[in-house]
Subunit: 420 residues, 2 copies
């Protein structure tokens, strides 16, 4: 069972032109850490045979596993496979089943397969197919020398990630190359700043196993608990008590773990209660509904909603009184409340959740600046609660809309948690 | 005036653990391209002296300018400056004004300067200070050999960017190393695969100036035209005729340039005509509305919409006949058409655009598999057009929803372009 070091060789002129950021390198970094595989180098080169060769020379001199990303497409500038074969002086051979697969994928969409795709069926002699269930072309797993394994992945992140998890990781495990693990758990927080959270739990920031570190991301805060151990079970057992203590300390500000979203957590709470939800959106324009319906199975509690971008739609579809719009303005607590009540009644749901605000860049005034957002929640018995928020206008339209939709979900979450 | 090649050497264990993504490399890639400085390699190593030395050996053997990021902080794992000095066997010397500056920055925040920060005042003998107006520690500009210049920057993006623009770029210009520019234009396509597009324009893929290269990204296809020239004006003049020829060749499949989105392009077309739009969404749950309202100023043509996730909402708010839902099913061309007509009538708009489909993972059947999506567009005079799409179920829910919303916008775009 040799000690293995992996490195990432990303191929793509679009990376060297700065058109995209190398998130694939970050993905592999996280995954290799989780598997306990050492990883000391990441390199980016363009779509250029000579430099791919030079990159392979460097990588194979110091690492036993080289993860190549990009350059597997059907066009002439996609050179990775043939450059790798050339570097190891091995001929390319055609795999008819690859091209048959590609043809089947096109056919299912009612399309003919372009002749260009034929080159994607070529792999170096001796290489195994690394299947790509999400896209047209597969990658490969190949050991051209006893001390080196090369894997190739397309640059499209969703394809690469599926191929890694479904085929590459089991392969590495079967080879006995996964010897220990680093496991992280993230606690996710809404409604508390990184500094405030850090102050609350700073006695946890000691260099022990597991470690705890705070960070901020897209308007929310996280605590990452990281454990090193021989296997995943042991690592999780180290994490569990620390996670429990932290959750107890911070209480309701912690909305979930790892990949949880506010929409998921709210969905589970609604489902448990047998409640239903409808939304009325103005400045978010559908974003709140889109977040809620990102969750598979959301149709069991989400009925739908109204995007009332124009005032006329607020009146006609939600029954907001014209007088309220005139006297209070569309961005007001009163209108948010009328929207929430209106959508709840018309869609006959347990809860009605509404957002109205000024996302900018235009439309602000001194009294009602960009970033002013009202959220309201209507429940049983005519109860309706409004909240006022003032988000930083400098952060821009997209940020304000993102915060607004998540904040609305968080208000609903806290209400459901507090309800008997 | 020597020809210069630059490369990026990022130092940081946090990059190799995947805790952050290397946006600094993307920033330098964009900046170097804009300055016309060739840039063929990017490397990431951890906070490790031996590997920083190896990275410097590689970089200085093939590039004349090495941009190092990260590892300039005050803690023991910040090793970049001393590793560089060590590699070139040059002693570190203290710059008292650097420490005085750091003390002044702390004092302004009412804090004493930790003794740790003293090491940030050390630079290799002969290096110039690269001032850091936004953070505590500066970087350096140093030519340890006549053929090599090394610059160091902290890893914090805002500090690095300010240092680059305020000091590093003027330095490169003064050295005569900025001799031209590389400018790219992206043509963006919807509704044509990368392979099909490549086949249509493959005579453009020749190594001339400008170059043309295709790539695929998030369900769409792009052609990137890249020109090298003495200045931006000349580069744009080289790009313009090629761009025009390509647009003429591919016609309506090209929806825009560079940062354009389908929602923006559709918005401009609607605005020009004085038309208005309303949407009715089922499986996308608000995503289409969210995309449309991402565009600032969209309130001038977008009235709003109905998210009719439940069948009852389709009946009550859109007037879809219950019988249609029973006989045809909610995912059918007939229901998509009724939704489009219904939302257009109720919101009194020029156009009504609808989506109903099966985003999965559940809800599919043999007759109506996951990925089956109907889109309909209702216009004046009772005209209504349905489209059927079968998106790859393997791509998953998020992908199907993303494609569905963009595809709906593209149908509207093509209809508006074809309308007299």
């Amino acid at each position: 069972m040799p000690l293995m070091t992996a490195e990432v060789l990303a191929v793509g002129t679009e990376l060297l032109l700065g058109e995209i950021v190398n998130t694939n390198a970050q993905f592999f970094a996280q995954e290799l850490a989780a598997l306990g595989i050492s990883h000391h180098w990441q390199t980016v080169v363009g779509d250029n045979v000579e430099r791919i060769h030079q990159g392979l020379a460097q990588a194979t001199a110091r690492s036993q596993l080289v993860l190549c990303t990009g350059g597997l497409g059907p066009t002439p500038d996609d050179l990775t496979t043939e450059a790798i074969a050339g570097y190891f002086q091995t001929p390319l051979v055609e795999h008819p089943q690859i091209f048959a697969d590609i043809q089947a994928k096109y056919a299912r969409r009612g399309l003919a397969t372009p002749e260009n795709n034929r080159k994607q069926a070529l792999l170096p002699q001796g290489a195994e197919i690394l299947p790509n269930p999400k896209g047209t072309a597969p990658g490969m797993i190949w050991s051209p020398r006893p001390d080196v394994t090369v894997m190739t992945f397309p640059g499209v992140p969703s394809e690469l990630q599926t191929m890694w998890r479904e085929t590459a990781v089991p392969y590495l495990q079967a080879q006995g190359w996964v010897t220990g693990v680093i496991v992280s758990q993230n606690l996710r927080f809404w409604g508390i700043s990184e500094a405030a959270l850090a102050a609350k739990v700073q006695d946890f920031f000691t260099p022990t196993n597991p470690t705890v570190a705070p960070y901020a991301s897209k308007g929310e805060t996280r605590l990452r608990i990281t454990a090193r151990a021989a296997d995943r079970e042991i690592a999780l057992a180290l994490i569990a008590p620390v996670s429990a203590q932290l959750q107890q300390r911070v209480g309701m500000d912690c909305y979930g773990l790892d990949g949880d979203t506010l929409a998921q957590v709210v969905g589970q709470l609604l489902q448990t209660r047998g409640d239903t939800l409808a939304v009325a959106e103005s400045c978010t324009g559908g974003l709140l509904g889109a977040m809620i319906t990102e969750v598979a199975g959301s149709s069991s509690y989400f009925q739908g909603g109204v995007v009332s971008y124009a005032n006329g739609v607020k009146e006609d579809l939600l029954g907001v009184p014209a007088e309220l719009l005139t006297t209070q303005g569309a961005v007001s607590a009163a209108v948010a409340m009328a929207m929430a009540v209106g959508v709840r009644e018309r869609l006959a749901t347990t809860w009605g959740l509404s957002i109205t605000g000024i996302a900018g860049p235009g439309g602000g005034s001194e009294a009602k600046p960009v970033g002013l957002v009202y959220i309201a929640l209507a429940g049983a018995g005519g109860r309706v609660t409004p909240w006022e928020h003032r988000f930083s206008p400098e952060r821009g339209r997209e940020w304000i809309r993102h915060l607004s939709a998540n904040q609305a979900l968080d208000h609903l979450r806290r209400t459901l948690l507090n309800a008997v």
